[in-house]
Symmetry: C2
Subunit: 435 residues, 2 copies
């Protein structure tokens, strides 16, 4: 008999097996469990069918230390995960009075009648520990059976995510860690490939068996997961802090931030904190840079204006780009990008003017300016920065990457960090290891 | 022994079980198989581990008529799917000379040396039928074993998608349909909820056992899958055409198009075909409408200009909106949206001027103009259309929905279809059934 896997993840739902939605819950769950140093051995999805659910659940209980089940806790006839779990594990179903009152209260408050279908959401297998769901009607529950720890959770992603972080992970950490505590975090990086990151950092994990590093791409960023283990919380936290500090020292400005915040969120917070305003003139990114800057609540506090000047005429009319500059250098050029950035800053009165111009593809390339050529310009009180990049992707990703680079320029400029030149979107100069 | 499932889908890869990427291949595969009227009974993901792959493969062969396996065909040491399949099914591995020559040719052409690892991509289980991969180095293959039809495919999505459509589906259709041929298509709809669609159309499937309808949301569109079966290709095609025609008759302009094209693609094609140009003035959508219109190659043929006028000052300065209009009615108003649309059309010389203004949320709402209030304006030679909508989503989806509604306005205006008023983004007036 082979040793048990750490984790099996089961998801339940006909809609998943019809391909109606992409099941992102499994990736979420496995990634979260890695933060507790637990690896997933199998993902299985079964239909809303009692036989199939029971079969897989019994198999999982015999094969994994932790079984995560998501879906099938709703009030409809299709939602049978709870009753099948009770049968598969030989438990009676018990109605929880407190949960029932909560459901009744909800229906009273919206003036609707509660049906028996709704009441069944208050039924749990005997011995289950109920996991509150503050943003939905279906609570989750935890069970221990035959040496496995099982968690049952709703399939609605935002309910699941919250329940995992608030209810599930702390319980797993408390029960499985024994005398070893785990602390982890995520560092968001941009500008260095995964293999370079690995080369720069791998000794940190190799030299300390209580540190694990993992890498994950969230285009165009790379995320570094850092896990530290120790016999006590204090030591684990101290170890994590020390490793994160060393990573930041080695990678420098390649690290955008710690945690889940996106680059746009980081930039927005920084602009608000420093009281800086931005105006944007876009050509190849076609509105997406302004779109990213305005995706953040409160963006009217820093974004004054965006202009998409797709045509040469609008570059001249709206931004005051001298027509002879376009004639001499072409619309995709350092000269024009600089004039666009200055033009949009002048007309808006913003602290920073940003401009993009380029050949997103698939058409429009030339020998001198192939598809993927992007020129970014920045203008502020200190002067103008402009660089040309050669991106190597398809139209959609060239545009996304150009937006990302422009956001990163804002971050660096506001923080007073140098804006790197040509090779930037593929690799920044690597951090050096201590000698 | 229960009857066999139609399909099991197995995906292989440590990266999936670490949650490093969301596995969208499974949903793709299951949706494609439904077009052949085949339902998926189980999705399973296993690590790059010989024991786990073999175990699941043996189980699948005994339980499903069609087994789809994706991943693990690459040249690295981790890629062991082929050799494990051979062992699990009791076949020898045979090197295919033609495939080997193709790989050798590839390495010659890029001036690199071919390693034994690369050569193993020319090995296939005895009796396998090779499935060409014109856009990657790993061919797929088909095997028949113990009453099941197995397909092995690369995990890279674009290689997989193409191989499925060109190689896999035709083979399954030829072998499994027997004397029943299946034809299917997808209709993209916008403005009608899934339950309304179901109510409007369900009799078509109920009255004809050889017709199946399925619904899938691709926010904010709903896709209708139509499957028709018949003893011959001609009859199946004729039945499909007739059902699609009847659906189009009932749903009217709710149907955006047939096939995989997005609304932005449909609108772009229409604008180019009719020789119409567009200019955009955005407030709440913050650049995303222009971004959607410029996401399509060749967009400079119809998109003249986009302006993001987030502040009142820029609405006045850049679009000529009279300041007293903003003072009297507020920036989020029919009057201002109309003036923005006319202003951007006038200054750009475009045929159509589009404008968005609204309260995307989460802040900024008032009793009169709550979060989700969006006003859209359109100006062309025939006049001005303006409507106010109340969207009910979070910031991100309110913005996406407003962009979608504006694109749909362009489509309708260019086609001469009426643009509906307030209830539009939630439900259009339903198509009527024949009496």
């Amino acid at each position: 008999m082979s040793p048990r896997d750490d984790v099996w993840v089961l998801t339940v739902g006909d809609e998943l097996l019809r391909g109606e939605i992409v099941d992102s819950n499994k990736a979420f769950l496995s990634e979260r469990l890695l933060r507790l140093d637990l690896e997933t051995g199998r993902h299985v999805t079964v239909p809303d069918d009692a036989g199939a659910i029971e079969e897989v659940m019994r198999e999982a209980v015999g094969r994994a230390r932790v079984v995560l089940v998501s879906g099938g806790l709703g009030p409809t006839r299709d939602d049978i995960t709870t009753e099948v779990a009770a049968r598969a594990l030989g438990r009676k179903l018990v109605r929880d009075v407190e949960v029932l009152e909560g459901i009744q209260g909800f229906f009273r408050s919206v003036g609707r009648e509660m049906t028996e279908n709704n009441a069944k959401q208050a039924d749990f297998p005997e011995g289950a520990e109920i996991l509150p769901n503050p943003i939905g009607t279906a609570p989750g529950f935890m069970l221990e059976a035959e040496g496995a720890l099982l968690f049952f959770m709703p399939g609605v992603p935002r309910e699941l995510y919250r329940m995992v972080d608030e209810q599930v992970l702390p319980r797993i950490a408390a029960r499985l860690s024994g005398d070893r505590l785990v602390r982890s975090t995520i560092l968001r990086t941009f500008g260095m490939g995964e293999s370079t990151l690995d080369r720069e950092l791998s000794d940190l994990a190799r030299d300390d068996p209580d540190v694990t590093l993992g890498f994950r791409t969230q285009f165009p960023d790379n995320l570094v997961r850092v896990v530290a283990r120790a016999p006590s919380e204090e030591v684990a936290t101290a170890k994590l802090v020390a490793v994160v500090e060393e990573i930041r020292r080695r990678l420098g400005p390649t690290v955008l931030g710690e945690g889940e915040r996106t680059l746009a969120e980081i930039v927005a917070e920084l602009l608000l904190e420093k009281g800086k305003t931005v105006a944007v003139a876009e050509s190849c990114t076609g509105g997406l840079l302004t779109g990213a800057l305005t995706d953040i609540p409160g963006s009217s506090g820093y974004l004054l204006e965006g202009v998409v000047t797709y045509s040469n005429a609008s570059k001249v009319r709206d931004l005051g780009v001298p027509p002879e500059l376009i004639e001499r250098h072409g619309a995709v050029s350092e000269e024009v990008a600089a004039a666009m950035a200055k033009g949009v800053r002048d007309r808006s009165g913003a602290n920073l003017g940003l401009a993009t111009t380029g050949v997103a593809g698939p058409g429009g390339g030339s020998e001198e300016k192939p598809v993927g050529t992007v020129v970014i310009g920045l203008s502020d009180a200190e002067g103008t920065v402009v660089h040309r990049y050669q991106l190597m992707r398809d139209r959609t990703r060239n545009r996304e990457l150009a937006v990302h680079v422009a956001l990163e320029w804002i971050r660096r400029r506001v923080l007073g960090i140098e804006i790197p030149g040509e090779t930037f979107p593929r690799a920044t100069p690597a951090g050096r290891r201590p000698a």
